[in-house]
């Protein structure tokens, strides 16, 4: 990038990919500017969203900034959440759940490594759906680890983790993979 993009755009991009409040200090680090400038830009954005009656609003909560849906629109969001579509998991969520089920207890970074993508959002979704829970910290790095819940077993129709089918029959012949041109 030859030209430095405008600060508000950078902030919007960062806010879009997180669903946890982010501090102005952290945002300033990433945007390579001062937290004063960031705070100022965030306030301006919040005002602009309000003035233009956007569907989202920018609020400062618990020492961080986060995008929220506008309160007046809650009935629509509720309808969307209650719609049957939300009962099922996305493919990304299912795959992440599968990794946790077979590798538990497992940290987010390990899941990311397996899936090749950032899984923060998906892990939060699985937590929110009660399919996984935190299971202490990794003794080495101290990172939070996750395990599956009784609800997850119930949804699969299993009594215990011992009943999870072995992966062996499903794993491709490793010889076959040797000349796979991959990632």
């Amino acid at each position: 990038m030859t030209e430095v993009p405008p600060l508000p755009a950078v902030l919007e991009a960062l806010l879009l990919v997180t669903d946890e409040p982010v501090s102005a200090v952290l945002l300033a680090q990433i945007a390579e500017t001062t937290s004063e400038q960031v705070t100022e830009a965030l306030h301006a954005l919040a005002q602009e969203y309000d003035a233009r009656q956007r569907g989202f609003e920018l609020r400062e909560v618990a020492g961080g900034w986060r995008l929220y849906t506008r309160a007046e629109l809650a009935p629509y969001v509720e309808r969307y959440v209650l719609d049957g579509q939300q009962a099922r998991l996305t493919q990304a969520a299912l795959e992440t759940l599968a990794v946790v089920a077979y590798r538990q207890p497992v940290t987010r970074s390990r899941i990311s490594a397996v899936r090749g993508v950032n899984v923060d959002g998906v892990v939060r979704t699985l937590l929110a759906r009660g399919l996984i829970v935190e299971a202490g910290n990794d003794p080495e790095h101290g990172a939070t680890r996750y395990r599956t819940t009784a609800l997850m077993l119930e949804r699969l129709g299993l009594r215990s983790l011992d009943e999870l089918p072995s992966l062996a029959p499903f794993l491709p012949d490793l010889d076959d993979l040797e000349d796979a041109d991959s990632p």
């Binding site: 299912l94 959002g121 949804r155 992966l167």
Partner: protein, 270 residues
């Protein structure tokens, strides 16, 4: 035919015979629709040689099919009076057109792949909104459904957890003994000289493996190029008959097939 001594080919990354052929055509700054394929035949054969025994057999066969066609076309150009006269010539023209068509087709997909690559690269720089619900809505979520049973779940897990292969060149190389085209050609010469001819089937009946059959086939092409044998084939894929048309005396025949054997720094003449 001389393979220049200074011909040092650094094997570049290429995927299959068509890819290689396109690269060579590009290197000669020739247009694929007009190129006389015989011009790049030497380079192509040189690449095959340069790879030594680093070939995966499955790959090698495709390369050899293309190489054989190229040699054929080149030979036809070098032979005097190569106007379309008989069925052999017609078959050669067909082979050339087919090779052209496949090459053009491959090039089209290669261009499409370049387009996909660019799209993937751009899209990978866009990060999607993927957020869990705001706390006030989380309680509303309907009971979650997985929509699959234990077996399907395990299959999914296996797919996701399957080890990803390292990005590397094919590792399952052919480790069979090296087969010398030159030796096989000498053997064929001696045999044909004695018998005057025979079917390809008979000439390869004693081969120890596919590589030897391939080597003898290449040897026959070389002998054909030298004008020492002629071929007869009643129909496509039918029995191939080889007839010795060279001298029949006791004097040693020309050393043919040397340019296939990269291991021996053989004669640079022809």
């Amino acid at each position: 035919m001389t393979a220049p001594a200074a011909f040092h080919v650094r094997l570049e990354v290429f995927e299959g015979p068509f890819d290689l052929l396109l690269q060579l055509i590009g290197k000669h700054q020739l247009d694929v629709t007009e190129v006389a394929l015989s011009q790049v035949t030497d380079d192509f054969i040189a690449h095959i040689r340069a790879a030594g025994n680093e070939w995966d057999l499955g790959q090698a066969t495709e390369f050899l099919v293309v190489a054989a066609t190229l040699l054929d076309l080149k030979a036809a150009r070098l032979l005097p009076g190569s106007e379309v006269e008989d069925e052999e010539d017609l078959a050669l023209l067909e082979a050339r057109d087919l090779l052209f068509a496949r090459l053009l087709q491959y090039r089209a997909y290669k261009q499409a792949a370049a387009h996909l690559e660019q799209r993937l690269a751009t899209q990978a720089r866009r990060y999607p909104r993927s957020a869990s619900l705001e706390p006030r809505f989380a309680g509303l979520l309907p009971e979650v459904l997985l929509g699959l049973g234990p077996q399907e779940f395990a299959a999914l897990a296996a797919r996701v957890l399957a080890p990803r292969a390292e990005p590397s060149v094919a590792v399952d190389h052919v480790h069979g003994g090296t087969v010398s085209v030159r030796e096989q050609t000498a053997l064929l010469q001696a045999r044909l000289r004695r018998s005057g001819g025979g079917s390809f089937r008979a000439l390869t009946a004693d081969c120890a493996g596919t590589l030897e059959v391939v080597a003898r086939f290449l040897g026959l092409l070389e002998l054909y190029r030298e004008g020492l044998v002629s071929f007869e084939q009643a129909q496509a894929l039918g029995e191939l008959h080889v007839r010795w048309t060279g001298p029949t005396g006791d004097e040693p025949g020309p050393d043919v097939g040397a340019e296939w054997d990269s291991a021996t720094p053989a004669e640079e003449d022809a």
